[in-house]
């Protein structure tokens, strides 16, 4: 489980320091603080960024919106972002909201508002609204990452690190080589998002990452995975073998 990487675009030192402090306190990783449009682009392309916090006005110019517009036309570059602004001036909002998905935070804000805005940005970006705040689910799932709300902070798990998923009641146990955690999500939902070539169902309750398979023991109905995990293979799903080239 990794921390979320955040890029700050804010020209006011005091503001950005405060912002960075709050984020660090909540276990987010600030990868950089840009104060101009150019700096922002440099930092954005040289770092792995998960979420961006953008001040709409940089040195009195709406360069923050310009940045959002720039990355929204580059394919695959767009990330979830939050606009910071001190006024609800309709004119600039009308321009900013064209860069969808659009979430914003009005200054002054408190810690909870900031965290909520980040969560909203992620939810809106992956079009899975009302997920992190609800009772039935606490993770936003995409084909690359699982964003999991743990306590108050958001964490991410790379889907390729997952060894297997075990369903238990309304929860899913996500097992990686080193960790194991429980998220609140239904099996159907997780199957919808995960890549069906990589993730294979071996049992009513198990989904296995095919890259982690070491051995399939048909006689014992077992799949042996990296990290010394054994997963049950049921009769119904035995034809998964046909998906692999078998050396004889």
């Amino acid at each position: 489980m990794d921390t979320i990487n955040i890029l700050l675009i804010e020209d006011n030192q005091e503001e950005s320091d405060l912002l960075a402090a709050i984020l660090k306190a909540n276990d987010y990783n600030v990868v950089g603080i840009a104060s101009t449009y150019k700096e922002a682009l440099v930092l954005f392309y040289n770092n792995s960024v998960d979420v961006i916090i953008i001040d709409i006005y940089l040195q009195g110019k709406p360069d923050g919106v310009a940045f959002a517009e720039t990355i929204s036309i580059v394919p695959d570059a767009l990330r979830p972002f939050v606009f910071l602004t001190s006024s609800k001036d309709r004119e600039i909002f009308d321009r900013a909201k064209l860069t969808k998905p659009f979430s914003f935070l009005i200054k002054p804000y408190n810690e909870l508002e900031l965290l909520y805005a980040l969560e909203m940005a992620v939810e809106k970006f992956y079009e899975q609204q009302n997920v992190l705040t609800g009772k039935t689910q606490n993770a936003v799932v995409s084909d690359k990452y699982l964003f999991i709300k743990k306590n108050k902070a958001l964490k991410k798990v790379r889907t390729e690190d997952i060894s297997y998923v075990e369903v238990e009641d309304r929860y899913c146990n996500i097992i990686t080589e080193n960790e194991k955690f429980v998220i609140l999500i239904s099996l159907t939902k997780i199957l919808e998002v995960l890549d069906p070539v990589k993730f294979i169902r071996t049992h009513r309750n198990y989904i296995v990452n095919s890259n982690k398979i070491i051995e399939i023991v048909l006689s014992d109905n077992l799949v042996i995975l990296q990290g010394n995990y054994n997963v049950t293979l049921s009769e119904k799903y035995k034809d998964l073998v046909s998906k692999f080239k078998i050396l004889k």
Binding site: D89, E113, Y116, N130, T133
Partner: protein
């Protein structure tokens, strides 16, 4: 001698022409009847009808025009021949003999009145001095007169033949035909024609210098002419007698005849003059009548125009009146509406002005308090009384917080009023929002030892604008803390009322309010001007702002309160779908 001869020749010419024209008068009647029936038969052929009318009126030019049109337009064979006949006759009368001959020759021999055509052709031949040709036509007709009943006089044809022979100087033949003609006329007792014939016979003999034979006929003609009314005949016969007497050197008689001739000529002239005068008078009378008619017509037109003008103007006046009344009513209606709106606006404006004065007063007192507190702070700092500093700083912080909230409300209120605010309704997690707002008030509540609890259901999502929802909750929590005495409690919870709406309740154990204040808060133009507690001021603005924002989010505000027991502020908002 030569002179007299010329006179005779002149006479010769005069007489045949005279005879021709007489023939027309006599025999056109039957033909006219015939064409009248034809034109009635072919009523739709307006051109033929017109041609016929003009033909009867002897208006040759117009006849030509309409018969030409008739020929071009309607290829009715029967009418075609009539039209050709009209054209032939018209051309002949206009002395365009070649054209006339051409038209008449186009008529087929089946034509009902073909003999008329031949007569015309014969007459044309005479006019063109082609006497042999004329003779052929006439003799042809003469043969046919025996077979059928024609409306023409054989004597005339005979006479014409005689004349042709006379012109051809075949005197014996001329003599024969003229006598046959004269005999016929004698039998028919046609004196007028008989006189002509006698004169022609006389001329015939005279031409041959058979004066002895000629003179009795001249005398006969002269005597007969005395009994007729035609001045022309009288004149001619007298003239002939005068010439004869002159040639016989009987000058006295010649002179007498000359004189008589003069008198006849005069009377003829007189008659002509009388006719001309009568004609003129008639024309004049007709003109007068026409004028009268014109005047009457003009008067009628004028009257009609006057009447029309009157009708039009009265209609216009009525319309104007109707329009005026309508506009007046409309204006009254709009001005009534405008007046109502003005009164409403006046009230709202007055409320706004009052609010501004209260807000500025409040701001001034806040800043003044801060100033005084700062002075005290400096004094204490100088006297190194550090124990007092802490309390003063806390007080300062509280004042600035309050002032900030007031300013925030003022700004938001202005933005809402001028509609400059960004407004976007979306699905919001009510518990999280309340939590976020509550976070800012934990310290304040703890200071007063008030428990502040958020027990909003985690399942509630409302459909609202994020920022305006925060402003509403902030103001209500702020008020609740203000009006709750220390050690009280504030509880925020949700009530799932129905499938459409969600109620957010902010309950406090505060001082509460009576019905009067409650109603005045809910009244749109309300200003709570109760100034017995400083804190009261400002609530007006905050609550007004809350109310307008709730309405903008399609929600409702309800208040349940009892004095000294507590208040429940209830916000009803639409649920997110």
């Amino acid at each position: 001698m030569i002179k007299t001869k010329i006179g005779v020749i002149l006479l010769l010419f005069f007489i045949p022409l005279f005879l021709f024209s007489q023939k027309h008068v006599q025999f056109d009647s039957l033909f006219n009847k015939q064409i009248k029936t034809k034109s009635e038969k072919f009523k739709e052929d307006l051109n033929f009808k017109k041609a016929h009318l003009f033909f009867v009126e002897k208006n040759w030019d117009s006849t030509l025009v309409y018969s030409g049109k008739q020929l071009n337009n309607a290829p009715n064979n029967e009418l075609r021949e009539y039209s050709l006949y009209f054209r032939g006759v018209s051309f002949k009368n206009k002395k365009l003999f070649k054209e006339a001959e051409k038209e008449l020759n186009k008529i087929s021999s089946d034509f009902e009145f073909y003999y008329k055509v031949r007569i015309k052709l014969g007459e044309i031949a005479v006019e063109q001095k082609q006497y042999n040709k004329a003779l052929q036509y006439f003799q042809g007709i003469l043969k046919e007169t025996d077979k059928a009943v024609y409306d023409l006089k054989k004597s005339v044809i005979l006479h014409n033949i005689g004349l042709c022979y006379l012109h051809l100087t075949k005197f014996d033949k001329a003599e024969e035909y003229l006598f046959r003609s004269a005999d016929l006329q004698k039998a028919e007792k046609d004196t007028l024609l008989l006189i002509g014939s006698y004169m022609d016979i006389a001329t015939l003999y005279y031409e041959q210098y058979k004066d002895q034979l000629a003179i009795p006929y001249f005398e006969k003609a002269y005597n007969l002419s005395k009994n007729v009314k035609s001045f022309e005949l009288k004149q001619n016969s007298t003239m002939n007698m005068a010439v004869i007497e002159e040639n016989r050197k009987n000058f006295a008689a010649a002179l007498a005849y000359r004189k008589e001739y003069e008198t006849w000529k005069d009377s003829l002239n007189d008659q002509n003059k009388v006719w001309a005068i009568a004609d003129l008078e008639k024309k004049f009378a007709v003109k007068e009548k026409q004028k009268e008619v014109n005047i009457l017509e003009a008067e009628n037109k004028l009257k009609a125009a006057e009447r029309n003008g009157f009708i039009i103007s009265s209609v216009l006046l009525l319309l104007l009146l109707g329009g005026g009344i309508y506009l007046y009513k409309q204006k009254n209606k709009t001005s009534k509406i405008i007046l109502e709106q003005k009164n409403e606006l006046d009230i709202l404006n007055a409320a706004k002005d009052k609010m501004f004065s209260i807000v500025s007063h409040d701001l001034r007192s806040s800043v003044n308090a801060l100033k005084r507190s700062n002075t005290k702070l400096l004094e204490n700092l100088e006297s190194k009384n550090f124990a007092a500093l802490d309390a003063l700083l806390h007080q300062n912080s509280a004042i600035t917080n309050e002032t900030y909230n007031l300013l925030e409300n003022l700004l938001n209120w202005a933005l809402v009023q001028t509609k400059q605010v960004y407004f976007h309704q979306e699905s919001l997690h009510l518990h999280s929002i309340v939590e976020q707002v509550q976070y800012n008030y934990t310290a304040l509540a703890a200071n007063k030892n008030i428990s502040l609890e958020n027990s909003v259901s985690i399942d509630e999502y409302v459909y609202a604008d994020l920022d305006s929802l925060k402003i509403i909750i902030r103001n209500l929590i702020d008020n609740a803390i203000k009006f709750t005495n220390p050690n009280g409690f504030i509880s925020i919870y949700s009530r799932h009322s129905d499938n459409e709406n969600c109620c957010l309740v902010i309950e406090d154990s505060g001082i509460g309010m009576n019905a009067l204040i409650r109603n005045s808060i809910l009244n749109p133009a309300a200003i709570v001007s109760k100034k017995d507690k400083d804190e009261f001021v400002g609530t007006a603005l905050g609550l007004q702002l809350c109310k307008s924002l709730i309405i903008k989010n399609e929600g409702q505000l309800e208040i349940e309160s009892e004095e000294n027991k507590g208040t429940k502020m209830i916000i009803i908002l639409p649920q997110a779908k």
